[in-house]
């Protein structure tokens, strides 16, 4: 039975349990809800909860564990001799899974009764055509070994699914019976439901944390893989980025990191003053009417997809910067440049800085401003010397948050600054020239992974090392932001 059906049956059971539990509780109280410990709906909810949670939990666990168990036992059955030449166990298992899936779709288990029975040649090539007709295209004829493995895979899976249905529905029914049995007017259903809700909240928090952990771990494995093929000193301290898919590449993070930091720096130089001053205007000077219009309009900037910003950089900002600054000054002739990407990214970040800073400035108590006005300070003196220092930790947090956005940005860089890594061997002048094309870590991650690539070469795996390094940098920035905000907040209250 497909999982969807199991879930539907469980939901129906839960609904029935809700009504039955509620009715039983009311009956045990003689129809008077004042005699019950909890409101009737809590009794119903308790039964529904006891039906759903253990059963769904089992369903999820079973679905996660079953495939790997089956795969392991099948892989053990494949003779070592069948592997070799141009195939590996992984590739073979992928074939087994596809054939098994195809057989499921064909629904022809009657053709072959036993998995061990040796299938004939013409049967196998016929099967290949049949599988092709249901969308499972195979490159070559099915090897007898693969066919046998696929058959046992298919059987084991059907078997597992059958037992899973029984077990999950059994747990659901058991839960229903147990919860129904304990339901009476004195049962503290409200407390139990509250605990259930708490458990649900904790689960959601855990999922968020575990996902982060999972991301880090998956990156970590591939990164380890990369460093087993490429020297880490070369990666972190080398000065050249020259990937070559025929091998012998130079894969150093420094040129890319330089591009990332340089573009981010320009972006922050644009975004921080403009965003901060906009926030000061909005929170301190603007009339309420002005605020109600201006604030949402600034925040619209945050809703524009970055690819649109990229187009803006490509067709508008880039040519303007080239024609009015770079060419007259004679320091660059490309529209794709650090400055283009930086300026456009800065515009993208303005709402981050301004919106957060605005909230923080508004949170500075009016008593601070009154105190300053009462001493004869002007409005701008008050802002400069009292409001901004009081809001500073929050503002720094906002800036660091914007910085981690800038570091992770990709689309604007691709379209605005190009895809050529900084070249350290051409001298410092070119490195710090803002009208030079340059690229960032994120762009290179994309370009190393796109196209027809082989997932085992260092040229591809380097993407994971780059990604992990970037993750560590932004994580560090976020931790720093949190630390600053927390440290100074105490002093302020």
């Amino acid at each position: 039975m497909p999982a969807l059906w199991i879930v539907a049956i469980l939901l129906a059971l839960a609904a029935a349990g809700y009504l039955a539990g509620r009715a039983r509780a009311i009956r045990s109280a003689g129809g008077d809800r004042r005699n019950m410990h909890s409101l009737p709906s809590y009794y119903g909810a308790n039964v529904a909860m006891t039906v759903l949670i253990p059963a769904l939990g089992l369903l999820v666990l079973w679905s996660l564990i079953q495939p790997s168990l089956i795969e392991r036992s099948i892989a053990d059955d494949i003779p070592a001799a069948a592997i070799g030449g141009d195939t590996t166990l992984d590739l073979m298992m992928a074939d087994v899974r596809r054939v098994a899936g195809g057989l499921d779709q064909l629904g022809t288990p009657t053709l072959i009764t036993k998995p061990a029975e040796a299938p004939s040649e013409e049967f196998l090539s016929g099967l290949r055509e049949d599988l092709g007709s249901v969308g499972v295209a195979l490159a070559s004829d099915i090897a007898p070994g693969v066919f046998r493995a696929a058959r046992s895979y298919q059987l084991a899976e059907a078997n597992g699914r059958f037992w899973m249905t029984i077990a999950v529905l059994g747990v659901g029914v058991l839960g229903l019976a147990a919860a129904y049995a304990v339901t009476n007017r004195e049962f503290r259903a409200r407390n139990v439901v509250e605990r259930g809700i708490l458990a649900g909240l904790i689960l959601c928090a855990l999922i968020a944390i575990l996902t982060t952990l999972g991301i880090v771990l998956s990156m970590l494995f591939e990164t380890q893989n990369f460093f087993s093929q490429y020297s880490w000193t070369e990666f972190f301290f080398g000065l050249e980025w020259a990937p070559d898919f025929r091998g012998n590449s130079s894969l150093s993070i420094i040129p890319l990191l330089w591009g990332t930091l340089y573009i981010s720096l320009i972006a922050l130089l644009v975004a921080v003053p403009i965003g901060l001053f906009a926030a000061i205007y909005l929170s301190e000077y603007a009339s309420p009417r002005m605020r109600t219009y201006a604030k949402p309009m600034i925040e619209v900037l945050a809703g524009i997809p970055t690819i649109v910003y990229g187009l803006f950089a490509l067709i508008t900002v880039g040519p303007i910067l080239r024609d009015y600054f770079a060419l007259p000054m004679g320091i660059g002739e490309s529209a794709s440049s650090v400055a283009t990407a930086g300026v456009v990214m800065g515009v993208m970040l303005i709402p981050f800085v301004s919106s957060l800073s605005d909230d923080i400035i508004n949170a500075v108590p009016q008593a601070m401003r009154d105190g300053s006005f009462g001493l004869g300070a002007t409005h701008s003196e008050t802002i400069r010397q009292v409001v901004i220092p009081a809001a500073l930790p929050g503002i720094v947090g906002a800036i660091l948050l914007a910085a981690s956005r800038a570091i992770g940005e990709t689309m604007i860089v691709v379209l605005g600054a190009g895809a050529a890594a900084a070249q350290f061997n051409r001298g410092l002048g070119e490195l710090v020239n803002p009208f030079e094309a340059m690229t960032t870590v994120t762009v290179k991650i994309v370009s190393q992974l796109t196209g027809d690539t082989d997932f085992a070469s260092p040229e591809t795996l380097v993407a994971f090392a780059l990604g992990l390094t970037l993750f560590v940098i932004t994580l560090g920035l976020n931790v720093l932001a949190l630390y600053i905000v927390r440290k100074y907040r105490e002093q302020y209250e």
Binding site: A367, G371, F373, G374, G376, Q491
Partner: protein, 265 residues
């Protein structure tokens, strides 16, 4: 003190420092202060008493134009400081507030060091020519506020780390450091315990030597203890104004009597 000096002092005390004539305040449509006339004397503590919402704080805030920061407030009438109309367009409210300092209900030290809190006013008004002078001003202000001995070893510690009573004295020191002529205090002790309150009251009595003080208070005992003049506000009207002893022992208006004996309020 010889007779001549005493006579000079009495005369100075009798000359009104602030005189308000026909002051009306509106918050949007709400008529908060109705036609108030009052003369506040120099080197005197004047207490404003009255039930909550009677307009005493509003009136206090008119005296240094703090109501300017509230958009919907509108003020009519005339308030003279040393004979000059403070609502005259020629008057810079910022300059005025340097002359008429204010201490608020809740201690509101800035999130800066104790030294920076006190030196804030002198710095923005350019009152010190060099660091030494600034330090002198800070020390004398802290001494006046009876806080010097408690904080002299930790002037660079944050002002927000002090206790509530110390914070309020810090705010008084901050106000005193700008050398104001009048000091307005809006319920300066309402957030403090009795011991801190007693310290502040003692301080108010000492500050009377140099300044004209106006204090808004909800505590009638406090008004009786620290003030020489008392004004009783009720529903936006100035009901009665006179010698403190007189108001508390022999009020002329029945509403004043009802309030100080606890029958309304």
């Amino acid at each position: 003190m010889n007779d001549l000096a005493l006579a000079a002092k009495t005369e100075a005390a009798l000359k009104p420092k602030i005189s308000a004539k026909g002051v009306d305040v509106y918050y949007a449509d709400n008529h908060a202060i109705k036609n108030v006339d009052v003369n506040i004397l120099d080197k005197t503590v004047t207490a404003f008493i009255g039930p909550s919402g009677c307009g005493k704080s509003t009136f206090l805030r008119c005296l240094n134009r703090m109501n300017d920061t509230i958009d919907i407030a509108r003020i009519e009438g005339e308030i003279l400081l040393d004979g000059e109309d403070i609502y005259d367009p020629k008057v810079d409210p910022v300059q005025l507030r340097a002359k008429v300092g204010m201490v608020f209900q809740k201690p509101n030290p800035f999130p800066k060091s104790i030294f920076d809190n006190v030196s804030y006013g002198p710095r923005i008004h350019g009152m010190a020519r060099n660091k030494a002078e600034l330090e002198e001003i800070v020390e004398s202000a802290l001494r006046r506020a009876a806080l010097w001995d408690e904080v002299k070893d930790r002037l660079l510690a944050p002002g927000t780390g002090l206790s509530g009573g110390q914070q309020q004295r810090l705010c008084i020191a901050r106000a005193v450091a700008t050398a104001p002529e009048v000091l307005l205090m809006d319920e300066p002790c309402s957030a403090l315990d009795p011991i801190a309150t007693a310290q502040i009251e003692e301080l108010i009595d000492e500050l009377r030597q140099n300044y004209s003080l106006v204090i808004v208070t909800h505590s009638m005992q406090q008004a009786a203890r620290v003030s020489q003049k008392t004004a009783f506000f009720h529903l936006g009207n100035l009901v009665e104004y006179g010698e403190t002893g007189h108001i508390f022992t022999n009020p002329e208006d029945s509403r004043t009597e009802a309030y100080i004996t606890g029958r309304i309020g």
